[in-house]
């Protein structure tokens, strides 16, 4: 990018400063690169550059068997792997018209919501850290650790779980696990209050987040935002409510929405989602039915020819899979992911325009992008 000269009267010439933020920058949450054009510290325009983490997951999937792809979906949104697993498995089940047993759907719900809390904890920690409140980060990671322990007990892994199978689950919950989950819910409710105490009414936090990156509901829809960035602008769109999957149709929960559409509202929406997730986990764990955990799935998975799109609500927004099967091969003909982070990142250029450099990091944090999912 070249620098351009702006004329302010006859006296002074000022030049725009082009500054390169990332891909090596502590606050771009991975390998995101944002080229900023600044006047003073105000962002005149920006260019969001992605692709540093491209691994070709979609193309790879065309050469993998249907069961092996679950493993690749772990690597999309690596801070919410279980939800990526769930989305993929449900899409293939939809393609094959497989009935998933109720118990498996309940456990999927519990895992998805635990995962949502883990992802939101990572978000609240890093977002607060970007704005300078570093203690919240360590508090959030302390509680995230408890969730990782629960996952480790459930499926042996702590980050890339590979926790679901087409038609159900690889294994049932270990004995006593449900009690630990309920115990965790009690701890978590108190701890969310702790973060809120540090942030929600903190004057500096309010000044840093209120009125920063305001986006109206219609504009957010036009940009294709989803998840908390969309709900923060007052659009009550939540895949869990609108097109229920897993066991969400049997759960009681609210979809929090914001009013102003600024960083603070997006923050409030996510904080309330933490409480709602705890509520769902409680219901699902207490009401978990007996029964098998895998439906009737053939040994060799070969869905009939056809295509389908199915979406789940990931912590970042609407995570959709579009899969085409030719009915002959043992791998998909086309595998396409609609990653919420990628679509939400479209809004960044619009959001940071006219704000200061300090707000740029706050806004990247407020969109909560994971580069593994953006670049695939």
């Amino acid at each position: 990018m070249e620098t351009s000269t702006i004329h302010h009267g006859a006296m002074f010439d000022t030049e725009e400063l082009v500054i390169n933020m990332g891909p090596q920058h502590p606050s771009t949450h991975g390998v995101l690169r944002v080229v900023l054009r600044l006047e003073g510290e105000t962002v005149v325009d920006s260019d969001v550059v992605i692709g540093y983490l491209h691994r070709g997951v979609e193309k790879l999937s065309e050469n993998r068997s249907w069961t092996q792809i679950v493993l690749l979906t772990d690597r999309l949104d690596y801070v919410a792997a279980a939800i990526s697993n769930a989305g993929y498995c449900e899409t293939v089940e939809k393609l094959m018209s497989v009935e998933v047993p109720r118990r498996a759907r309940y456990i999927r719900t519990i895992l998805s919501e635990l995962q949502r809390i883990a992802s939101h904890l990572l978000w609240v920690g890093t977002h607060a850290m970007d704005i300078g409140a570093m203690t919240v980060f360590l508090y959030a990671f302390r509680e995230r650790e408890l969730i990782l322990d629960l996952f480790e007990e459930m499926c042996g892994a702590r980050l890339t779980y590979n926790s679901m199978r087409i038609g159900g689950l690889p294994q049932d919950v270990p004995p006593g696990w449900d009690k630990k989950v309920l115990e965790f819910c009690t701890i978590m409710t108190a701890k969310v209050g702790e973060y809120e105490q540090l942030l929600t009414h903190n004057r500096i936090w309010l000044e840093r987040t209120k009125g920063v990156g305001v986006i109206s509901g219609p504009e957010a829809v036009a940009l294709g935002l989803s998840g908390p960035p969309l709900r923060g602008s007052g659009v009550p769109r939540d895949v869990r409510k609108d097109e229920p999957y897993a066991a969400y149709d049997e759960m009681q929960f609210d979809v929090p929405v914001g009013t102003a559409g600024d960083t603070y509202d997006r923050y409030l929406v996510r904080m309330e989602e933490l409480y709602q997730s705890i509520r769902i986990i409680r219901q699902a764990t207490e009401g978990i039915p007996e029964g098998p955990i895998v439906g009737k799935v053939p040994r060799l998975i070969k869905p009939p020819a056809g295509e389908t799109y199915h979406a789940v609500e990931s912590p970042k927004g609407e995570l959709g899979y579009f899969i085409v099967s030719d009915g002959k091969s043992t791998s998909p003909y086309r595998f396409r992911v609609r990653p919420p982070s990628f679509c939400n990142l479209q809004g960044l250029r619009r959001l940071i325009k006219g704000h200061l450099v300090a707000d740029v990091v706050a806004l990247i944090g407020s969109l909560d992008v994971v580069l593994g999912e953006v670049d695939r």
């Binding site: 390169n20 300078g132 936090w205």
Partner: protein
């Protein structure tokens, strides 16, 4: 001969070495306190409970490669850390750690010197330190440090005014610019100035946070935005000098606040006879305890609060603190005249 030459030299050596080790250990204190706030342990490996960590850190920084960027302005780049560190140290010359005591038959004052414009000296020397930061950002010839040094200069100018105005209120109260006389004036009036001038005390503390570039006003080094700010291009011992200068400045602000507002070396409630048993504790211990309290608050604030944005900080400085400081000054003057 002894009183005029040897004793001052010994005092300078003692104060300098004590200061430097205090600075090194305040880094450890900060790491430990923040770790405890964040339910961590902090440094634990070097020595028992990590108490030798500062020595290990210093060794590491000394043996690191000293890098000067090719495009940097070499002389200014070298001078900037020195310009930052030296003023932070020479301020200690007028800090009154305690009263005059008898030692081996010689009267020894527990301060290096007591000049009659002590407070003015502190204010002017401390402002020189700012040039270190500005020049570091300029000389690096790199964009992030440049932005940081712009922020630093704007920030320090706006806070200097408010802080200096609160100092004028204190001078009005004490009638002297000498640090020792200000403490003595608090002794004779029987009140710490923190109670007489609570507003000035508050403004001084907030301004002190901003002047030392500490959270929530640490935007000149804003790690998350400007990747370290003015010292991005610095490494090894030069980086360490900036780092140590920051802590030296924190101790300076703590000591000045102690002397001006918390009665320096005086025990709590210096005129209440009932509490005279507190007089057993020597004055310099009181002074260190009070300074330590400030140091702790500085660290505590850093662990708790998010960072202000640059424009918000300017707004607080110019639209809130300076008018308040001026109002406080006028009020102090009126009350002083009425009482006379």
């Amino acid at each position: 001969m002894i009183d005029n030459l040897v004793i001052p030299l010994i005092k300078i050596v003692v104060v300098l070495s004590a200061t430097l080790s205090a600075v090194a250990y305040s880094v450890l204190l900060e790491r430990k306190v923040i770790a405890w706030v964040q339910s961590r342990l902090g440094p634990m490996r070097v020595g028992p409970y990590g108490i030798l960590q500062p020595i290990a850190d210093a060794l590491k920084l000394i043996v690191k490669e000293d890098i000067t960027p090719v495009r940097a302005d070499k002389w200014v780049f070298t001078a900037a850390p020195i310009l930052s560190m030296v003023p932070a140290l020479i301020v200690y010359a007028v800090i009154p750690f305690g009263p005059t005591v008898q030692m081996f038959g010689h009267p020894v004052s527990l301060y290096v010197t007591d000049i009659n414009v002590g407070l003015l000296y502190i204010v002017s020397v401390a402002s020189v330190g700012v040039y270190g930061i500005i020049l570091a950002g300029y000389a690096s010839n790199s964009k992030y440090p440049l932005l940081a040094s712009l922020r630093a200069s704007a920030q320090l100018i706006s806070y200097e005014v408010a802080v200096t105005l609160t100092l004028v209120s204190v001078i009005l109260m004490s009638g002297s610019l000498s640090m020792v006389s200000i403490v003595r004036a608090q002794e004779s009036s029987g009140m710490w100035y923190a109670f007489v001038q609570p507003l000035a005390f508050g403004i001084f503390f907030i301004g002190g946070l901003a002047e030392t570039n500490r959270a929530p006003f640490d935007m000149a080094e804003a790690e998350q935005e400007l990747t370290g700010g003015f010292h991005t291009e610095y490494s090894g011992m030069r980086f360490a000098l900036f780092f140590l200068a920051e802590y030296a400045n924190v101790i300076v602000v703590s000591s000045v606040a102690t002397a001006l507002f918390l009665g320096g070396w005086l025990r709590p409630f210096p005129n209440v006879a009932m509490l005279s048993f507190l007089g057993i504790v020597p004055g310099w211990v009181w002074f260190l305890l009070k300074s330590f309290f400030f140091l702790y608050v500085f660290i505590w604030v850093r662990a708790t609060l998010p960072r202000y944005r640059y424009d918000q900080l300017m707004r607080i400085g110019w639209k809130v603190l300076i008018p308040l400081a001026i109002g406080n000054l006028v009020l102090t003057g009126i009350v002083k005249v009425l009482l006379m």
